[in-house]
């Protein structure tokens, strides 16, 4: 029997019981739509994480202190392993383009009667370059600011609008924990999110350490490497140098943690990938349920059409023809459901982007995957009922009411 005729015949028998076919296919529609939407959200999350991390600066390596176990004991208290001298030493490496040591803190900001809390970070002149930050209006921080512990501040875009309202903050007197600072510049907006510079105030590192917080250690050292391909070499060199400088013995663990941007991308990619596959597998369960629905209906259909099968056999249908007929019916239901599900999945992804504010990108492989999975489900769950139909005894089948 020709494939075209088989499909036509399958279509006819499916449409003759349209409601039942529709409800059966609905299982597949929902399953596939869920998978498509989840993959869309996952891929969207992945991409937005990627852009965010890339926006932190290119070729970036970040060194943070860590609580390495030392001589069998875990060091308590705050971690104070990184110093300005470490940063200076790192800057001497040939593969390093720039070094931006950073001391973080949180402080009360006051301008006239306006109050707010914000992170106040002490940085050096190179920091803006290393973190790919730009000054929207005014000036950046200079080496001289740092050397002379000047009380000058660069404010993030959100801080500027929140604290100064419509006024230009340039030249204004900003109090940070009661100490007066002069605002010299406003950072360009970078977009909100975790650790966004928009919500921070940058002051010279020395001012931060000596004047405001009285601490000598750093929160992190940002290193811009010349060539991204060299970053692992630089990482190794930095690690060696810091171990040496910190006087660590071979058996001691590192008291710092080096992460390149590639590491972060990988980590975040892994995290969002894990989430996507977790949600995807939940969605895939509904595909399984859809498949079982198809199998159920196909079994009912074989039973109902036993006599038809007998007639077809009597006029010359081979067992393989009957098998193919029922298999094609199952595939048509699952594939049809899959196609509708893809459409619905796109709609759902668009709706999530529209109303949920999440970036959703349905990857193109998801379409091929859904179609493939639909066919596979049709075959897997259709073959049992189809074999049952094909192995009917024609005499018995014709006797059926």
């Amino acid at each position: 029997m020709q494939v075209r005729e088989t499909i036509r015949s399958a279509w006819r028998s499916l449409t003759s019981n349209g409601l039942r076919t529709g409800l059966t296919a609905l299982g597949m529609v929902i399953g596939v739509a869920a998978v498509i939407a989840v993959l869309g959200v996952g891929e969207g999350a992945q991409r937005s994480v990627e852009t965010r991390i890339r926006s932190l600066g290119s070729n970036l390596i970040t060194i943070r202190p860590s609580r390495g176990a030392s001589r069998g004991a875990v060091r308590g208290g705050s971690v104070e392993s990184l110093s300005r001298e470490d940063a200076l030493a790192i800057a001497a490496f040939p593969g390093v383009a720039a070094v931006g040591p950073q001391a973080d803190g949180s402080a009360q900001l006051r301008y006239l009667s306006q109050n707010m809390n914000a992170s106040v970070n002490g940085v050096t002149a190179d920091y803006l370059r290393v973190r790919s930050l730009e000054v929207a209006t005014g000036l950046g921080l200079t080496a001289l600011d740092d050397q002379q512990r000047r009380r000058v501040a660069l404010v993030g875009a959100s801080v500027a609008t929140e604290l100064f309202g419509g006024e230009s903050p340039l030249g204004k007197r900003l109090q940070i924990n009661g100490v007066a600072f002069r605002v010299v510049g406003v950072l360009a907006a970078k977009g909100s999110g975790w650790n966004s510079p928009d919500d921070a105030v940058l002051i010279p590192l020395a001012t931060h350490q000596k004047v405001l917080f009285g601490q000598d250690y750093l929160s992190s050292i940002n290193v811009e490497v010349v060539d991204e391909d060299d970053s692992s070499t630089v990482e190794a060199q930095v690690s060696q140098l810091l171990r040496l400088r910190h006087g660590l013995r071979p058996e001691d663990e590192d008291d710092f943690d080096i992460r390149s941007q590639t590491d972060m991308l990988e980590t975040m990619g892994e995290v969002s990938g894990t989430f996507t596959s977790l949600l995807g597998s939940v969605a895939a369960v509904s595909l399984l349920v859809g498949g079982i629905g198809i199998m159920n209906i196909m079994l009912v259909s074989v039973r109902e059409r036993t006599r038809e099968i007998g007639v077809r056999m009597a006029v010359g249908a081979r067992r393989s023809d009957v098998l193919l007929q029922f298999l094609v019916e199952a595939i048509v239901v699952s594939l049809g459901g899959g196609v509708l599900g893809i459409a619905l999945g796109f709609v759902a992804a668009a709706a999530i982007a529209q109303f949920g504010g999440w970036e959703t990108v349905v990857p193109s492989y998801a379409i091929a995957l859904s179609l493939g999975v639909s066919v596979v489900i049709g075959v897997v769950f259709g073959v049992g009922p189809a074999r049952r139909a094909a192995h009917l005894d024609p005499v018995e089948a014709l006797r059926q009411e």
Binding site: M1, S9, M313, G316, D321, P394
Partner: protein, 257 residues
């Protein structure tokens, strides 16, 4: 294969439940006969005598437990499932008591059905001309439930004819029809037989049986009488009456008129 293929069965046996002696039923018990090409043969006998089983074996729907069945030059016992399907498709046409048309297909599509399974593709024209042969060309696009019983049976006959088989196997073809439409259908079968199609028909209707060339009288899986239909039918009636008298309770002797 030509239109003319004689049937020959030799010591044909069909046992149900052959592996459990206490349940074994010899539905067809050592039957031998030959049907010449172009003959029309009625198989008569009481219910459960094995007529339908015999017809199913002749139609390659069922396999005999023993004996030989020659359809033309073919030894049917040697054929596998797919070859049997091809034989059913090409050489045998079935006509059933309950028509067995597929309800959601038009008359024409029902008639086309065997063509879909034919090894060599044939055009729709064959189906149209088969419908014309049974006088239903103008009803080609009607669904079965839009037709009378007689028309349905004629569509079924057209379906049986469409691959130009050498024989028609009819299982009570007039059993669901009133006497007038029975005559029409019978006339149609007669005409096909005159044109050379071999017909083997299981029937309870002795008038129908009498109108064919030859009759086989079956009882308990055996052929007890075989000859010109008029003679076999008369003997059958005679025998049935005798039995009715003997048993004092004249049970409903099926087919006795």
């Amino acid at each position: 294969m030509s239109m003319r293929a004689p049937i020959a069965v030799e010591s044909l046996v069909k046992v149900y439940n052959p592996h459990r002696p206490e349940l074994a039923v010899r539905a067809v018990d050592d039957i031998s006969f030959v049907v010449e090409a172009g003959q029309s043969v009625a198989i008569i006998g009481p219910s459960g005598c094995g007529k339908s089983t015999l017809l199913n074996i002749l139609g390659c729907l069922d396999r005999p437990t023993g004996g030989r069945y020659w359809l033309g030059e073919r030894d049917v016992a040697q054929l596998d499932d797919d070859e049997l399907a091809a034989v059913r498709n090409q050489h045998i046409g079935f006509v059933f008591q309950s028509f067995n048309l597929l309800p959601r297909m038009s008359a024409l599509e029902n008639v086309e059905l065997p063509l879909l399974y034919a090894s060599r593709p044939r055009s729709r024209d064959a189906a149209i001309s088969a419908l014309a042969r049974v006088g239903l060309a103008e009803r080609a696009h009607h669904l079965p439930n839009e037709m009378s019983g007689g028309q349905k049976q004629r569509v079924a006959i057209a379906r049986a004819l469409v691959t130009e088989p050498s024989m028609l196997l009819c299982d009570e073809p007039t059993g669901a029809l009133d006497s007038r439409t029975s005559r029409d259908v019978l006339g149609l079968l007669q005409r096909l037989n005159d044109e050379g199609t071999t017909i083997v028909m299981v029937t309870h209707d002795l008038v129908v049986a009498r109108s064919l060339h030859r009759a086989l009288h079956m009882r308990d899986g055996r052929i007890v009488d075989d000859g010109p239909s008029a003679v076999v039918v008369d003997n059958f009636i005679h025998l049935s009456e005798e039995e009715a008298c003997k048993s004092e309770r004249p049970s409903a002797q099926l087919g006795a008129r």
